[in-house]
Amino acid sequence: MRHIISILLENESGALARVANLFTARGYNIESLTVAPTEDLSLSRMTLVTSGSDEIIEQITKQLNKLIDTVKLVDLTEGSHIEREMMMIKLRAERTQREEIKRLVDIFRGKIIDVTDTSYTVELTGAASKLNAFIEAVDEDLIIEVVRTGPSGIGRGAKGLGL
């Protein structure tokens, strides 16, 4: 089962390494990991996507909680939540292709953020499945480069993960 875990971490050097280390040392899967400071600069917010049986996920959350740098943790998969991922994709766009790509970008509600005579760079935000669908929709030969952030997540409703 895929799980998306959100962690409030002390914004200290080494905190990220501790999380990454834990996953390699204990042989857990890690699909993606995003991290950045929050409005409180002493804290980082990390979103981590992993997968495993219920027992493994239980161990993962316990082991993450055990890290001294972990302030709070929530398994977003347990409740209603929103996930977003951003992708920048550079596509070959020449002559007739230019119109068609533009149309596709509009359908996916993306934005063209850089243009040359022969290429477009497209920005697209959404659930990971939407980004996958866009990649599927584009002719494989046109893709020059794909950069994805990995998902970030937040719980639905008025409550937040704070101190």
Binding site: S13, G14, R18, N21, Q59, K66, I68, T70, V71
Partner: protein, 572 residues
């Protein structure tokens, strides 16, 4: 009071009540050593290899319950203590390790004796710090002691760059009396509802067993445990790390469990209907094949560390909390409860256990002229009246010591259970003897293990530590040889250790007393003589039967009910 970084470190140790620091100087810690030179309160013990500093601090911590403190230099100083840190980590021993680091401006430049200590030690510490600012030094040390000793204890490394200890830069010093960390709040009390639920199940149990581990020793919970066990009349088995918490000679004790546990302990585990696990972590050497572990049992698990619960074996009633406090609450709930243990069922259960006991699974040839290692441990027990602190290395001798020295008190049995570190015994004994100068301290070791930290004989002379080394010399890495005999058709690949120094002469060259004994009839006399030399280290080289193996034995991948009891025996 204005102090430099080096002085702050020493002052912090004083304020923390530290009396002994085990260490070895070097370039990056020279400022700190200069501050040590100028005072008398903190005693520094100079080891001969940094690994021994960590083991000695570890032994000190295990015997006293206080955190052990280590001070070493950067680079090789730090890498040499890693084995000792990992040893302490696996057994949850409180330890603070101060390592020197190259000055902050050159960190990352591959400077002389630079190594990424925080990176290297990260997987084997409870936490670690790199102190980049002098202003953070005192608070970081306070945090290190707090983290090391609270919750589930463990080693904490504080890496200190040389410029932070510069004697030319002084700042006002104040040791924080308390430290609070928003990200670290260990549980201080077990959930009463869960405790009541557990007691209800225990009162209804027909074939209950207590299975207790190192957590009971670490939390000094021997008293409430013993009281609870005897009040309920339940049998108890202990792990390698838990020995001594409930007395080895106590009537409810079944012996150690696990790979080399007793027949009665392992069979009771297999047949139990209610298992009460206390401060134990369901290690693979204890459980055998997890699929066959306690097939009929409702499992209650008391542990300070939530991640220990349901890690290897699914638990039915988890109780997260310090074991001492939980056991005390449990006693209270038992006292206030109207329910009583099921006397009739317990009577039948004990009758079954006595049947298993009558197999006499620990028997060995007592008429042998060659000294049997089991006998040597029994003689040690007799000569020391069961009162000694016994440290060990790793292998057959460790198992014989655990099986045959019936520990009646906690903190007397000191061994590397989790990591299985050869070379642990002698330096650990140094730590114990530093803490208790008058106590009898014995190292039960093998000819292979002892050579891994033998240089510490010099440290023992320098600090006049009258340790007694009982070497069970069988000329093999015994446990490796045993596995090769059982599972590799006796192909003894690289496990022979017949080429050793003359240990008597070697010991004498270090300034101690060396003795050798090779006949059963001479053993007790030699052992008595060794312990009569109160102020001398005695190295007793006991030549034992090289063919002896450790029984009972559960082979890897087997369940508790599948044991070999003696040479050539079938599984029972």
């Amino acid at each position: 009071m204005e102090l430099s970084g080096g002085e702050i470190i020493v002052q912090c140790l004083k304020d923390e009540g530290v009396e002994h620091v085990f260490g070895y100087p070097g370039g990056a810690v020279l400022h700190i050593y200069d501050a040590i030179f100028k005072q008398k309160d903190v005693k520094h013990i100079l080891v001969r290899h940094e690994q021994a500093a960590a083991h000695a601090a570890d032994g000190y911590a295990r015997a006293t319950g206080k955190p052990g403190v280590v001070l070493v230099t950067s680079g090789p100083g730090a890498t040499n203590v890693v084995t000792g840190i990992a040893t302490a980590f696996m057994d949850s021993i409180p330890m603070v390790v101060l390592t020197g680091q190259v000055p902050t401006p050159v960190i990352g430049s591959d400077a002389f004796q630079e190594v990424d200590t925080v990176g290297i030690t990260r997987p084997c510490v409870k936490h670690n710090f790199l102190v980049k600012r002098l202003e953070d030094l005192a608070e970081t040390i306070k945090k290190a002691f707090y983290i090391a000793t609270s919750g589930r204890p463990g080693p904490v490394v504080v890496d200190i760059p040389k410029d932070v200890t510069d004697p030319g830069i002084k700042i006002p010093y104040k040791y924080p009396s308390k430290v609070k960390m928003r990200s670290y709040n260990p549980v201080v009390k077990g959930h009463l509802g869960q405790i009541k639920k557990a007691v209800k199940i225990m009162m209804e149990a027909e074939r209950p067993v207590f299975y207790t581990g190192g957590g009971v020793v670490l939390d000094d919970a021997a008293k409430p445990l013993t009281e609870l066990v005897e009040k309920l009349g339940f049998p108890i088995t202990q792990t390698l790390m838990g020995l001594g918490a409930y007395p080895g000679s106590g009537k409810n004790f079944l012996g150690m469990l696990g790979m080399h546990g007793t027949y009665e302990a392992n069979m009771a585990m297999h047949e139990t209907d209610v298992l009460i696990a206390v401060g134990a972590r369901f290690d693979d050497r204890v459980t055998g094949h997890v699929k066959q572990f306690c097939p009929d049992a409702t499992i209650i698990h008391i542990d300070i560390d939530p991640s220990s619960i349901s890690k290897n074996v699914r638990v039915d009633v988890p109780i997260v909390g310090p074991v001492k406090q939980v056991l005390r609450d449990m006693l209270k709930v038992v006292d206030e409860s109207d329910a009583q243990p099921n006397k009739q069922a317990l009577k039948q259960w004990w009758e079954q256990i006595e049947k298993w006991r009558s197999m006499d699974c620990m028997k060995y040839d007592r008429k042998s002229k060659l000294i049997k290692p089991q006998h040597a441990v029994e003689v040690l027990h007799k000569v020391t009246k069961g009162e000694a602190y016994v440290t060990s290395d790793v292998g057959q001798h460790q198992m014989f010591a655990a099986q045959f020295y019936r520990f009646d008190k906690p903190r007397r049995w000191i061994n590397s259970g989790g990591l299985g570190t050869m070379g642990f015994g002698l330096p650990a004994a140094m730590g114990v003897q530093m803490a208790f100068p008058k106590a009898e301290v014995a190292v039960v070791t093998g000819e292979s293990s002892i050579q891994m930290c033998i240089q510490e004989l010099a440290t023992c002379l320098q600090y006049e530590l009258p340790i007694k080394i009982i070497l069970l010399n069988n000329g093999y890495m015994g446990m490796v040889r045993q596995w090769q005999e059982f599972f590799y058709e006796s192909r003894y690949s690289q496990s022979g250790m017949s080429v050793t120094p003359d240990f008597v002469k070697l010991t004498e060259s270090f300034g101690h007393v060396g003795m050798r004994v090779d006949k059963t009839k001479d053993l007790e006399g030699a052992m008595k003589e060794a312990f009569s030399l109160k102020d001398r280290l005695v190295f007793l080289d006991v030549v034992v039967d090289p063919s002896e193996n450790v029984y009972p034995m559960i082979a890897a991948g087997k369940g508790h009910h599948e044991m070999y009891l003696s040479p050539g025996s079938e599984l029972v």
